[in-house]
């Protein structure tokens, strides 16, 4: 039985546990043994993006230690931007800033090495699900959805395609809308430090998404709860009503619907 450890991310853990359960259910349904390292906390991206490198390094060290002691070699991340943080920024962060944070040069080299190995073990949920046989029956009606890929997904991981293809394999019809490549304005703690611009950008995104909604998209899907909490938080504040889901939740729904049909 293939094994994978889930990198839950702090936002899913604290605010959206259902996403974690959905991911675990999907993975188990595909015959994977799921492990959740219980000591994981946060990858440190919030601190890193804000330039608080000392804190980012502490959190990176904790992350690496926790996942090094996992049994599974594959790690599946439930956020594209957190996955990008670990896979792309950790090795660089130790390399560039390790010495400034009081690490000796041999320690820096060790941490860079450990971070590089960690990066190779990690994949984002969309990439994982794309590598699996889709468990959806054609009898399940296609559904129009709007997809928002976060900027790290789009420009750092550059892995939108696996998610899009996986969603399509499960009967999603991806509705296009204007300026899809535009940032939603979240930006980690930027959303709190500069709420005015952050909110302007959320509103621009809402306006663009309203066209997808008008074209029949039933929900908004993303692989990042960072963007989604920001967008849904704004939508709720403004009284928009539109389901907002993580990729794992939507796919889990589809698989359940297929299983039901099969049972009928």
């Amino acid at each position: 039985m293939p094994q994978a450890a889930i990198f839950v991310t702090c936002l899913v853990d604290l605010f959206k546990p259902q996403t974690g359960y959905a991911a675990a259910e999907v993975m188990e349904r595909h015959g994977w043994e799921v492990e959740v390292p219980i000591s994981q906390t946060c990858c440190g991206q919030f601190a890193y993006n804000a330039g608080h490198f000392a804190e980012a390094i502490k959190l990176a060290q904790h992350f690496i230690e926790v996942f090094e002691s996992a049994n599974a070699s594959t790690i599946v991340g439930l956020s594209a931007s957190c996955t990008a943080m670990v896979a792309h920024e950790y090795p660089e962060l130790f390399q560039r800033e390790g010495a400034n944070m009081g690490l000796a040069s041999e320690e820096v080299a060790q941490w860079v090495q450990r971070a590089t190995v960690m990066a190779e073990r990690l994949m984002e949920f969309g990439e994982w699900v794309h590598g699996q046989e889709a468990l959806a029956l054609p009898a399940v009606k296609p559904e129009k959805v709007a997809v928002h890929h976060g900027c790290h997904m789009r420009r750092v991981l550059k892995a939108m395609q696996p998610t899009d293809e996986a969603l399509r394999a499960y009967g999603a019809e991806l509705v296009e809308y204007p300026d899809e490549t535009q940032c939603c304005g979240f930006g980690g703690t930027y959303s709190m430090i500069e709420p005015t611009i952050s909110t302007q950008l959320a509103d621009a995104k809402r306006e663009a998404l309203s066209q997808a909604q008008a074209a029949g998209a039933t929900s908004l899907i993303s692989g990042d709860w960072g963007c989604l909490l920001h967008l849904s938080g704004r939508m709720e504040y403004e009284g928009d009503r539109w389901p907002v889901l993580h990729v794992a939740e939507w796919i889990n729904q589809r698989e359940k619907m297929s299983a039901q049909k099969k049972g009928e």
């Binding site: 702090c10 604290l14 804000a50 330039g51 900027c151 940032c183 430090i193 500069e194 909110t199």
Partner: protein, 473 residues
């Protein structure tokens, strides 16, 4: 004199002015969208340009890395061709040198082609303070000169104005402006062209910037889309070119690859409409060109950037592509940055040239770290990483509010252990119960957005609970 001019109003004032200006909002979106679409299509339709970009990137980095011998070579070539070279350390040095040359030659009227370096050193203000008449001849620069404003876009300085505003501006500020009967673009351009023609013919001194300085032959290359640099370099008696140290390129092979990039990335053309090359003053054999040519090489902090961790930013060719894709720039435009260098590139070089004290708010407040700028940059400058680097510098220099600093420290400390993480979850729940959510960083969020409560049972709590239950069963 300051190293880089800045708008003294605080960021929120600049931001709100931009957000509440409907003309700016409309023109900004139109201009950035148009230029960005043109850039994408240009590279798609011209694969040779994309290949040249790869080579250009490497040659430009290489030239910047080893600029001292190349600058010496350029200097030697310029001198051999009868030009004069002056190295200026500061904006004041630039002004003093050019004023001295102008006074020696009895100059009264000066014409200029577009140059960000002259904006950086506030050359017009320096020259006008001594009584020289200075006229900008690039249409966009002409407009903002008449309006007494700073450029709002590196490439399109008047991008914030619409044609009705420009018509009104001409009528208010230019003699005989009752000629400006129409507000259509050809009519406005025609009017400016007629006015500028008189300035071209009466000027004693021309001033250009320099997009490139070719070391091999000591040639200063100026690209424009209006042809005004041709007139600036050929009509007046005295010619000055102000060139940043980072404009150096090795040779003509490198130039051919690099010169296409500002055109492709900036306006979506394969080449700018005009390429003006200056290799020396008028020689005994030639019948046109200036009597004297002075090349002012500008440092103003560039050597320090070169020697530090941000050297890559000197590969910038000022195409403006990063401005056009930046979500924050699209909201506030160039004036929101309070610096003549705006957008992501301005967010990096403004504090590097003008200091963190003055420009530290740019990396902090004007970047969502979306990576669109790096993706668009033809020179592949890691702008997001540099912006994060500048944020970290602000942290290291203790420029952040103490309360914010403390929050990050406690947060980092707590979450680097599982016990600390669990305790913070408990604390968040208590705070929620006491309705204490509007404190610290979270307050900024809750002003405009809802936030779900921390789950009654977090995923990790629930999973651990489930594991225990299974083990017992």
């Amino acid at each position: 004199m300051e190293r880089l001019p800045h708008d003294p109003r605080p960021w929120p004032a600049r931001r709100d002015e931009a957000l509440h200006d409907p003309v700016l909002q409309a023109t900004l979106r139109r201009v950035t969208h148009r230029l960005n679409t043109a850039r994408i299509q240009a590279y798609q339709n011209y694969p040779a340009g994309a290949e040249a970009r790869e080579r250009a990137k490497h040659r430009k980095r290489e030239a910047v890395r080893e600029w001292e011998p190349l600058l010496a070579q350029a200097e030697q070539q310029i001198t051999a061709h009868g030009g004069q070279v002056f190295r200026a350390a500061t904006p004041g040095d630039v002004g003093a040198y050019i004023k001295k040359v102008a006074q020696e030659h009895g100059v009264q009227r000066i014409i200029k082609s577009k140059s960000m370096a002259t904006e950086e050193v506030q050359l017009n203000a320096q020259l006008e303070a001594t009584g020289f008449a200075v006229r900008e001849t690039d249409l966009g620069e002409y407009i903002i000169q008449l309006a007494h404003e700073k450029p709002s876009h590196i490439l399109a300085p008047a991008a914030h104005k619409n044609r009705q505003q420009i018509q009104a501006l001409f009528r208010e500020t230019v003699a005989d402006a009752h000629d400006v009967v129409s507000d259509d673009i050809p009519g406005l351009t025609q009017f400016a062209r007629q006015k500028l023609r008189q300035d071209f013919l009466s000027a004693d001194m021309g001033i250009t910037g320099g997009n490139f300085l070719v070391a091999e032959t000591g040639t200063v290359v100026v690209i424009t889309n209006e042809g005004n640099a041709d007139m600036v370099t050929t009509l007046p008696r005295i010619l000055i070119s102000l060139v940043g140290l980072e404009k150096i390129v090795q040779d003509w092979d490198a130039l051919i690859d690099i010169i296409q990039q500002p055109a492709l990335s900036g306006v979506g053309q394969r080449l700018s409409s005009y390429t003006t090359m200056i290799s020396g003053p008028r020689g005994p054999e030639s019948w046109e060109g200036p009597d004297e040519w002075h090349v002012v090489l500008l440092d103003n902090g560039r050597q320090a950037i070169h020697d530090g961790p941000y050297q890559d930013v000197l590969a910038c060719i000022r195409c403006g592509a990063c401005l056009n894709v930046c979500p924050v720039f699209q909201q506030v435009g160039g004036h929101g940055y309070g610096s003549v260098y705006s957008g992501p590139i301005g967010t990096v070089i403004s504090p590097l040239i003008g200091g963190m004290q003055t420009f530290g708010e740019l990396p902090r407040y004007l970047c969502t770290v979306c990576y669109a700028c790096q993706e668009a940059c033809p020179m592949d400058i890691p702008l997001p990483e540099q912006i994060i680097g500048l944020r970290s510098q602000a942290v290291a220099e203790d420029r952040e509010p103490a309360a914010v600093r403390t929050q990050y420290r406690l947060w980092g400390q707590a979450w680097s252990t599982v016990h600390g993480y669990r305790r913070s979850v408990q604390a968040a729940r208590i705070a929620q119960r006491l309705a204490l959510r509007h404190v610290g960083l979270a307050a900024g969020w809750l002003k405009t957005r809802k936030m779900p409560p921390v789950a009654a049972r977090t995923f990790l709590e629930g999973w651990a609970h489930e594991q225990r239950r299974r083990r017992r069963a």
